[in-house]
């Protein structure tokens, strides 16, 4: 009997702790959703200091195929750099791009 009580107690305790753990990401998600407007406001304050700004789109610079091709010459130049032995380094902007607001938020802002 004592063993049964112990097993059920372990089960209940596990259920509670597992539920906490399992919901952790959902909780973070919910919290982050409710805080998303605050997040956007913060991003704007970073943008004002010239550090972070929403990125609208990203296209691989080495686009060999026909989809999303930026420039053959840029691609060829980059490939030459990447496949060469010399470590020249690639240009990286000091801007910090972030994913922009969701379409729903954009529509809300336009209301």
């Amino acid at each position: 009997m004592k063993i049964m009580k112990l097993i059920s107690a372990v089960g209940i305790t596990s259920l509670i702790s597992i539920s906490i753990h399992a919901n952790a990401e959902g909780l973070i998600g919910n919290l982050s959703q409710s805080a998303s407007h605050a997040g956007i406001a913060s991003e704007h304050s970073l943008s004002a200091s010239g550090q972070a700004i929403a990125g609208i789109s990203a296209i691989p610079l080495l686009s060999v195929g026909t989809v999303g091709k930026v420039s053959n010459q840029i691609g060829e130049d980059l490939w030459g750099v990447a496949s060469g032995n010399e470590r020249k380094g690639l240009d990286i902007s000091d801007h910090v791009p972030t994913i922009g607001p969701s379409p729903a938020e954009l529509l809300d802002q336009q209301d």
């Binding site: 107690a9 372990v10 089960g11 305790t13 596990s14 259920l15 509670i16 702790s17 597992i18 539920s19 753990h21 399992a22 990401e25 959902g26 973070i28 998600g29 919910n30 982050s32 959703q33 805080a35 605050a38 997040g39 991003e43 970073l46 550090q51 972070a52 700004i53 929403a54 990125g55 609208i56 789109s57 990203a58 296209i59 691989p60 610079l61 080495l62 686009s63 060999v64 195929g65 989809v67 999303g68 980059l78 490939w79 750099v81 990447a82 496949s83 060469g84 470590r87 020249k88 380094g89 690639l90 240009d91 990286i92 902007s93 000091d94 801007h95 910090v96 791009p97 972030t98 994913i99």
Partner: protein
């Protein structure tokens, strides 16, 4: 009182080690300021750019390190591609865009493919630490071609398990998705039959050990799905991706930052 404490400990111990390939995409981070995350993510970008990396695998730590199973160093891996990024102000800049498989926020058993940037990627970090695997230039090029063609989307399986078995298509986690991209690029095919058979032949996943209580209650309460594992639990990790590339294809460089 002692029993309550002991039971709580037992209950917690049943769950704490499921942090294998957690692929959350939160919008905020309670541990680090936006300035810290911006600075660190830019540091990571410049580290990879200094090696002329047009594409690389990027790992982050999204759980307390003491909760990670032995041999698991990073909990999420994405594919970073050197890109022209159009900003909301119309400017075009150069930097890395990250292609990820993330768990859905409202349904952890399902995933989405999402492209973000290093700053967003590290919003899910519990430590300012990055794993950078730079494949050979030829493989970089092949992976970029795959993504540019849109074929990487065809490799996505939205049924998510944190400990997905890479040798079948029942579930997929973030690291298996990257593994599938690597194989699709190498074999120039999105045929999952071909990809899985070659993974069985050439890729060695990480075997994870959990005590029977963890497995029983984890499965019982839906925290973990293990029905895709016929025997031992083996999954894809940052370390196994690195080992596979080192042994079978060659690597340009590996950098652990932070």
């Amino acid at each position: 009182m002692v029993r309550i404490i002991a039971l709580t400990f037992v209950g917690w111990s049943l769950t704490f080690q499921w942090a294998v390939a957690g692929s959350d995409s939160p919008e905020t981070n309670a541990r680090f300021s936006q300035e810290e995350l911006a600075s660190f993510s830019k540091l990571v970008e410049k580290e990879a750019a200094a090696e002329n990396a047009l594409a690389f695998l990027l790992g982050r730590v999204g759980e307390a390190e003491e909760n990670l199973p032995d041999g698991v160093e990073f909990t999420h891996v994405g594919l970073a591609i050197y890109s022209e990024i159009k900003l909301e102000n119309g400017d075009r800049i150069r930097g890395y865009a990250i292609h990820n498989l993330y768990q859905q926020r409202n349904n952890p058993r399902r995933s989405i493919i999402s492209q973000d940037y290093p700053f967003d990627f590290f919003l899910g970090a519990t430590k300012l630490k990055a794993g950078i695997i730079i494949p050979t230039p030829v493989l970089q090029r092949k992976m970029i071609e795959l993504v540019t063609s849109g074929d990487h989307i065809r490799l996505h399986n939205p049924d998510y398990s944190v400990i997905a078995n890479p040798f079948n298509t029942t579930y997929q986690n973030c690291t298996e998705y990257i593994l599938d991209i690597i194989f699709a690029a190498i074999y120039d095919s999105t045929d999952l039959g071909l990809i899985k058979s070659n993974q069985k032949a050439y890729f060695t996943p990480k075997e994870l050990s959990f005590n029977p209580g963890q497995l029983f209650f984890g499965t019982l309460f839906g925290v973990v799905r293990r029905d895709d594992h016929p025997t031992a639990i083996k999954t894809t990790t940052f370390g196994t991706l690195k080992k596979y590339l080192e042994e079978n294809y060659g690597l340009q460089k590996v950098i652990i930052k932070g």
